[in-house]
């Protein structure tokens, strides 16, 4: 049943078009892109996403300012829903659109960043052989991501969750002739898929206890302490932990895999093998925050289980610090950005983890969503800027760069704005969101607050290390082949995003997004901001001192910290640990016995069946001699035998 409730048919169709237009682009370009519309494929896909972005802005305006509020509280509205697969009354996989503040915000973020990346790629990937394929994959990704954020049913979310995984796989492996890209896309897919197993089991447990897959009903049933569903979910326990907590932890494992949180982060740095605009879209702004979105979507349920929330907080803060330390030592600019992404997602996660539900307690929730929003803007900008640098220099390595500010003036300015934003310098966007996160942490957990504070200083340091290494440092290697910044199509997204990164902090975010739908009054305490700003500036000036001019101070420091530096440079050996566990332990202890069993027992049984059949048939095939008279003798013997049987034995 397709129901379009209370807003008229227009809203329903407009909403449906938001995800369906990119899907149309995927289908058309996938089917006809290689031959018929090769030349205009980029323009075609971009215009579809443009319409989609326009519709989501329209939806956001309508939701936040017109029909979203009921008595001062933002409602969860389901304008479209149809039952797709019904298991039993109440349990069904529905396809629908759920509008609430976070999904509407994500609609805007996804379509906006996707549009920017579409425009940017027009120039960045110009002349590529598989240009239309690239745009069709982008369309598939945009479709899946939009489907994920508006999902009204947890299983619908899971379906789109896997679809984003697939499109991420396809896009990382876009340069399929590079072995490193092929390895990276497989790694990304396998690691996230492994984590998704947890998500699936979590869904099954949650839906088993709640008796539904629908988000609204599920949240309602599992957050009202008096319902039988809630009582049974908290009463049942396994290894001393309630079923509800288990389910939430498993769901969180899925989210951690997609969001590249420690220790499931290993795929994200390698995913940088994809084209840079893809990294901006998928591995910085949208897909990797799906885990944060998932926790936020189920936040009311999470807030019923303190242990699960604590896990979220600690995994978040560990990832934030861990990734920031690694980011300080990497030399590949995209990898620095990848670790920085991981660190920022850690910030969002622990903000959710320290948050409570409702009212003033929900500050962490609002802060996480706010940071998600601003981070999408400035991190996409950073990636696109890095793309412009790579486009100019044809290298990812910092040592090949330096002194580029004269050649890339627009990129330089926009990159600087993004660096200031991520470092939390007022009045850029990152300052406001990070401040809220720190405040939320301060109110709830001192340990987390202090680690977060140090991490935000580190953030400023590694971002400006990157900035100075690219644009200052050694005086420019003479770039004779200087061919400009990449044209209008590449500069427009940079400029637009930098406006966003500079100004988005002034949006009164708490008015729109909060844990319970009521506007949250966010008060800024200026005294509180002194410490983070001071640390941020300290980070910036340290980076300036070390990297603005070419010198060997940084090497000296790295040398004096040799142990820690080496550890961070080798990413704390997590990759090696994974390889050790898989190759040495799992392969030897599980793989080899399984292979032996397969070879000898399973294969042996099959071969034995075949061999014995062959043996027996060799023995008895002489009976079929082709001679009629022999057959007649057998027949006669049979008849006589039966006759004797019936006459003498059987009576």
């Amino acid at each position: 049943m397709l129901g379009v409730f209370s807003f008229g048919i227009d809203l329903g169709w407009a909403l449906l078009m938001i995800p369906l237009l990119p899907l149309l682009g995927f289908l058309v370009l996938g089917l006809f892109g290689r031959k018929q519309i090769k030349q205009s494929s980029g323009i075609f896909a971009t215009s579809l996403v443009l319409v989609s972005a326009f519709l989501s802005f329209h939806t956001a305006y309508g939701y936040f300012f017109k029909y979203g509020k009921l008595e001062g509280v933002y409602q969860k509205i389901i304008p479209i829903q149809f039952t797709w697969l019904q298991f039993s009354p109440g349990v069904s996989i529905d396809m629908g659109i759920l509008l609430d503040p976070i999904s509407v915000m994500m609609l805007v973020v996804v379509t906006l960043i996707s549009l920017m990346v579409h425009i940017y790629s027009l120039a960045y990937l110009k002349g590529e052989e598989r240009f239309p394929t690239y745009y069709s994959f982008l369309g598939l990704f945009t479709f899946s991501m939009l489907g994920l954020v508006v999902a009204s049913n947890i299983f619908q979310m899971y379906i789109f969750w896997e679809l984003v995984g697939v499109s991420s796989f396809l896009l990382i492996g876009y340069y399929y002739d590079r072995p490193s890209a092929v390895a990276a896309c497989k790694k990304a897919f396998i690691v996230t898929r492994f984590a998704d197993l947890g998500f699936l089991i979590g869904i099954l447990i949650l839906s088993f206890y709640a008796g539904t897959l629908d988000f609204n009903t599920l949240i309602l049933k599992l957050t009202t302490t008096s319902t039988p569903e809630f009582l049974s979910a908290t009463a049942a326990s396994f290894m001393g932990i309630s079923a509800l907590t288990w389910a939430l932890v498993l769901v969180f494992i899925g989210g951690a895999g997609k969001s590249a949180l420690f220790p499931l982060h290993v795929w994200l740095p390698d995913a940088m093998e994809g084209p840079t605009p893809v990294s901006a879209l998928i591995h910085a702004a949208t897909m990797v925050v799906a885990g944060v979105f998932l926790v936020a979507r189920l936040f009311p349920v999470f807030s019923m289980s303190a242990p699960a929330l604590e896990l979220v907080a600690f995994v978040g803060i560990i990832s934030a610090l861990f990734a920031a330390l690694i980011a300080c030592t990497q030399t590949d600019i995209k990898r620095v950005l990848a670790y920085s992404t991981m660190s920022q997602i850690g910030f969002m996660m622990f903000a959710l983890g320290v948050s409570g539900s409702g009212g003033e307690n929900g500050l962490g929730f609002t802060a996480a969503m706010f940071h998600l929003f601003t981070h999408a803007l400035f991190k996409a900008l950073l990636f696109l800027g890095a793309g412009a640098v790579i486009h100019f220099i044809h290298s990812n390595e910092m040592k090949d760069m330096g002194g580029l500010r004269k050649y890339l003036p627009i990129t330089h300015i926009t990159f600087l704005i993004a660096c200031l934003a991520i470092s939390g310098v007022p009045p850029f966007a990152g300052f406001f969101s990070k401040e809220e996160i720190l405040l939320a942490a301060y109110q709830h957990n001192a340990t987390i607050y202090w680690i977060a504070l140090i991490t935000s200083g580190l953030t400023a340091f590694y971002m400006f290390r990157l900035y100075f290494s690219i644009f200052w440092n050694k005086e420019s290697l003479a770039h004779e082949s200087a061919h400009g910044e990449g044209g209008f199509a590449m500069m427009l997204p940079l400029v637009l995003l930098s406006v966003g990164a500079a100004a988005a902090g002034f949006i009164p975010f708490g008015d729109f997004v909060s844990s319970d739908g009521k506007p949250l009054e966010s008060v800024f305490h200026w005294q509180f901001s002194i410490a983070p700003i001071a640390l941020g500036l300290a980070g910036i000036f340290t980076a300036m001192w070390l990297y603005k001019k070419q010198n060997n101070r940084s090497d000296t420091i790295a040398h004096s910290l040799s142990g820690l530096y080496k550890l961070a440079f080798h990413k704390f050996y997590v990759d090696e640990l994974y390889l050790f566990i898989t190759k040495k332990i799992i392969f030897n202890l599980v793989g080899r016995p399984a292979a032996w069993f397969d070879k000898n027992v399973v294969n042996g049984l099959v071969n034995a069946t075949g061999n014995s059949t062959l043996f027996i048939s060799e023995k008895i095939k002489g009976f079929q001699s082709g001679k009629v008279q022999q057959y007649a003798i057998y027949f006669l013997a049979g008849v006589i035998g039966l006759a004797i049987l019936f006459i003498y034995v059987w009576k």
């Binding site: 002489g622 079929q624 001699s625 082709g626 001679k627 009629v628 008279q629 007649a632 003798i633 006669l636």
Partner: protein
């Protein structure tokens, strides 16, 4: 002089049956084998007639059955001879030993 009874007739038909079976199993010529089958069928006919006459003299079922058997025997002979002619065309022989193409 003794009247011939049921047993005499049955002995004849049994002898005829086994002569037919023996011929079918030992002859190599297909025509002769066909003739042996006719002997087997006729021994059955004799049995039908004999039982009808001696056991149920006022019924006619046995007679009817033997007429059916004669009709079927005629049809069977026609089919068998057609097969034999075709076999001769392809194998240049009607020796049953040579018609062993349907072996394993």
């Amino acid at each position: 002089m003794m009247e011939p009874g049921l047993y005499h007739v049955l002995i004849i038909s049994t002898a005829l049956f086994f002569i037919g079976v023996f011929g079918f199993l030992t002859r190599r010529n297909l025509i002769t084998m066909l003739m042996s089958i006719e002997l087997v069928l006729n021994s059955v006919n004799i049995n039908f007639i004999a039982f009808n006459k001696y056991a149920w003299p006022n019924k006619l079922d046995g007679l009817f059955f033997s007429i059916f058997v004669i009709a079927i025997a005629a049809a069977e002979a026609a089919v068998a001879i057609a097969i034999i002619i075709n076999l001769y065309r392809s194998h240049q022989s009607i020796d049953v030993e040579n018609a062993a193409d349907l072996k394993f």
